[in-house]
């Protein structure tokens, strides 16, 4: 049962990572290393920026 649970948790984590749920955590980790003295963007601002960046720089989707 534990193996199954662990497997499902891992699968869930994987799907979330592929979908991009962890983007803010990734940004925080990056920020903590490169700009330890400045406060990072708040979460809401970060997601807004991320969406708006796609407006400025669209990504292709294949057929």
């Amino acid at each position: 049962m534990n193996v199954l649970q662990a497997g499902l948790t891992a699968a869930g984590r994987y799907v979330k990572a592929v979908m991009g749920d962890n983007a803010y955590e990734v940004y925080l980790a990056h920020h903590a290393v490169t700009h330890p003295d400045t406060p990072p963007m708040p979460e809401r601002v970060f997601w807004r920026e991320r969406d708006d960046e796609q407006d400025r720089n669209p990504q292709g989707r294949c057929c």
Binding site: A29, T34, R44, W47, D51, Q54, D55, P58, Q59, C63
Partner: protein
């Protein structure tokens, strides 16, 4: 410095001789597995390893024998799965490894752009397995689901062989090389790489070709959706519902719970299922049927207007949430389809080679002889040039280590090829008479059951005896008024999928659900590709116009963005309307153009790779690129020449054009499948546009390939050429390279895990 000046200056310097100069930070654990250790592990063959690979080879061999040699009355679908998967495994382990040793020669001591440009947003070193999912979601869409269905008219074997052999020698090679070379060049796009490698003329031709090709691809994908939704109130309702669902998801993510992407995707998925079920109920009511039964021209206009609005709305409102939904569905449905085929294992009664395989005029679904037209009908899944646009520019900015490019690039494309094989299996698992009744254009069937039965039975196919009852019953089972002449591949795949899924879950009662589920996900993939394609094409146009009127480069200039969006939408919209109203049937005349366009792009990408490999001085292994390039060039140029010069009206655009012009001059009131003079004029107009596009494509491609070959010969004479790689930056991170970590990788990873957290990811350069 100009391109040519650089070329002269560096022409005698062989590229990548600097590997020895990379110095790693001595205070960190190793950033790469030492070469000798990795070599020893790769070349060490334990008995267990030998036994596994022997078993894979044996199983694959048996499967191929069953498909290609035994060819009994029926063949079980499971052999397709075994033949494909075993061949992929062997190609991945041995051929892509060979390419890695011979051509790409990755060096994990070099930082990738994701590492040295890391900004926490678009340049992010990403876990390789996660990136595999990202990359796959970006490259795979409706393409591999459509082409194999149309090619099934030739029998199962030609398509199967081309999908599997094509991917390992051409498609996956292209994806891998473009990904790797772009990574070495800061993640530059294909167009930029073409300019750097081939000079101004070659670069401009490549960018122009990309733009035109993008337009034609978007138009034909949209045509597939229009054909699937025409006269189908259920389909129109449920696909239309994706718009409010996406808007809701967009608002939810923007204002309610930012960042909860998986959560909102699950909510969206549930709503989507409700929309499919609701669509059935709505279509059953009188008002629902009246409101949502739309003819194809109306739907085409709907998609054009929608395409324009979607491209100018902010991304967060419509495009991004629909993209999430599409990714979510993609992963889910592909696993579902694979599971269903493995559990149900349908028996296939389609012959290996059909009556049309040897016919120079081809079959009624797509015209033209097997060579070259099979190879352009199936583009996605075997060799897709469009992938070069994702493999350059997008994915390289996320790639953690150079050595992972093989898993992501080559492996990702193998996965798409497997999707194509499953689509083929689904399409050939349905009755053959039914297949032709669905895929022959209304110009031949008259769109009626009687017409379809008469036409299909007149084809003289062995073992085919189509009855009106079968057509009526299938239509009823899938919840449609009629399934005659539902061309474009998507409805056939949907019937095939419904057929397989209903014996897996739900029985006949569920068939209509599965059918509309399949139509829904194909429409979702395609509409996402249409939106994204319009936006990317608009940006390319803005960039190009910016050379003349600089203001167009300013992305915040709304009027400029709107003008460029309108131009791009008008361009693909015109081709779409042309396809929808075409008296000759539309998809069967236009689909070859889609495949040709896609593979011409592949030829351009491979030509750039050829020039790069030559400039690096690896002439002994140039054939790895030259072989698929030569094949793609021969196929696409031959197909284009057929389309331009063939005297057979069904094949040659200009022959058709001349025949109809002639008939008009003779004062005829109807000709061929065109019932009126207006329809005849439409054919003249359409064939003129199609013929002109064919000439444009082939001219641009010949220019690019010609320049690449010239540069390659120059490089050969000089023993190498310019080095267009970015300067080396030593890496300061470690990660494994394949799907599973090797022994050495695990050992090094342990050393990294023992480091204090803040020291693990030290950036080489500040953003």
């Amino acid at each position: 410095m100009s391109y040519d000046a650089r070329h002269e200056k560096d022409s005698a310097v062989p590229a990548s001789t600097t590997a020895a100069t990379i110095e790693q930070d001595p205070t960190l654990p190793p950033v790469a597995v030492p070469d000798d250790e990795r070599e020893a592990e790769e070349r060490h063959w334990t008995p267990a390893k030998i036994a596994i690979w022997a078993a894979i080879a044996l199983l694959g061999g048996v499967a191929w024998v069953m498909l290609a040699v035994v060819r009994g009355e029926t063949v079980n679908a499971i052999w397709f799965v075994f033949a494909a998967v075993c061949t992929y495994l062997i190609a991945y382990r041995f051929y892509s490894k060979f390419i890695e040793r011979a051509i790409t020669r990755p060096d994990d001591r070099r930082a990738t752009p994701a590492e040295y440009n890391a900004n926490g947003k678009d340049y992010v070193p990403t876990d390789r397995r996660v990136l595999f999912g990202h990359h796959f979601a970006a490259i795979a869409g409706a393409g591999p689901l459509v082409g194999p269905v149309l090619a099934a008219q030739m029998g199962y074997l030609p398509g199967t062989l081309w999908i599997i052999v094509g991917v390992i020698l051409a498609g996956a090679v292209q994806d891998y090389l473009v990904l790797f070379f772009s990574t070495r060049r800061g993640g530059r796009s294909l167009g930029q790489m073409a300019r750097d490698q081939l000079g101004r003329v070659g670069g401009t031709a490549a960018i122009l070709a990309t733009l035109v090709i993008m337009v034609i691809i978007v138009a034909i994908l949209a045509l597939v959706v229009v054909n699937a939704l025409g006269e189908s109130p259920w389909g129109v309702f449920s696909v239309a519902m994706t718009i409010p669902i996406a808007l809701f998801m967009g608002v939810y993510l923007r204002f309610l719970r930012p960042g909860k992407i998986t959560e909102v995707s699950i909510i969206g998925f549930v709503l989507l299922m409700a929309a499919i079920i609701g669509g059935g109920m709505v279509a059953d009511t009188e008002w629902g049927a009246a409101a949502f039964t739309l003819d194809r021209t109306t739907i085409a206009w709907g998609i054009i207007i929608y395409g324009f609005i979607a491209a100018i709305l902010p991304v967060w409102l419509l495009l991004a949430p629909r993209d999430y939904l599409s990714t979510f569905m993609k992963i889910g449905t592909i696993f579902m389809l694979a599971a269903a085929i493995i559990f149900v294992r349908p028996e296939i009664s389609v012959p290996a080679f059909s009556e049309f395989a040897g016919n120079p005029a081809g079959g009624p679904v797509v015209p033209g002889s097997l060579f070259p037209f099979l190879f352009v009908t199936i583009a996605c899944g075997a060799l897709s040039g469009f992938h070069a646009l994702i493999a350059s520019g997008t994915t390289p900015k996320l790639l953690e280590k150079e050595r992972q490019a093989r898993f992501i690039g080559y492996g990702g494309m193998l996965m798409e090829s497997f999707v194509a094989i499953m689509a083929l299996v689904a399409a050939i698992s349905i009755d053959r008479g039914l297949y032709f009744a669905m895929n022959v254009s209304a110009a031949n069937t008259g769109g009626t059951i009687e017409g379809a039965v008469a036409f299909v039975n007149s084809l003289g196919l062995t073992g085919v005896n189509l009855t009106p009852e079968l057509l009526a019953e299938t239509a009823k089972n899938v919840g449609e008024e009629s399934i005659v002449s539902r061309t474009g591949g998507a409805p056939t795949l949907a019937v095939g999928l419904a057929h397989i899924m209903q014996s897996f879950i739900g029985g006949t009662a569920m068939m209509s659900f599965w059918y509309h589920f399949a139509i829904m996900f194909e429409a979702l993939f395609i509409l996402t590709a249409v939106d994204a394609g319009t936006r990317v094409a608009r940006f390319m146009l803005q960039d190009t116009l910016g050379n003349v009127i600089p203001r167009f480069r300013d992305a915040s200039w709304t009027v400029g963005a709107w003008i460029c969006t309108a131009i791009m939408v008008a361009a693909w919209g015109a081709i779409l309307i042309m396809g929808v109203t075409d008296p000759l049937g539309g998809i069967n005349t236009l689909f070859p153009l889609f495949g040709i366009a896609n593979q011409l792009l592949a030829a351009i990408a491979l030509a750039v790779c050829l020039a790069i490999v030559a400039d690096r001085g690896y002439f002994k292994y140039l054939w790895v690129v030259a072989l698929p390039l030569a094949f793609a060039t021969v196929v696409t140029v031959t197909a284009s020449l057929y389309k331009i010069f063939s005297p057979v009206p069904a094949v040659g655009y200009w022959a058709q054009n001349a025949a109809f012009r002639n008939a008009l001059e003779q004062g005829e009131e109807s000709f061929g499948t065109a019932p009126t003079r207006a329809a005849m004029e439409a054919v003249v107009r359409n064939t003129f546009v199609q013929g002109t596009l064919s000439i444009l494509f082939v001219t641009l491609t010949v220019i690019v390939i010609g320049i690449a070959v010239y540069r390659t010969i120059r490089a050969f004479q000089n023993g190498g050429g310019i080095n267009t790689e970015d300067p080396i930056v030593p890496s300061r991170i470690f990660a494994g390279s394949g799907i599973w970590s090797s022994k050495a990788e695990k050992r090094i990873q342990k050393e990294w895990d023992a480091l204090p957290v803040e020291r693990r990811r030290v950036k080489a350069r500040h953003e």
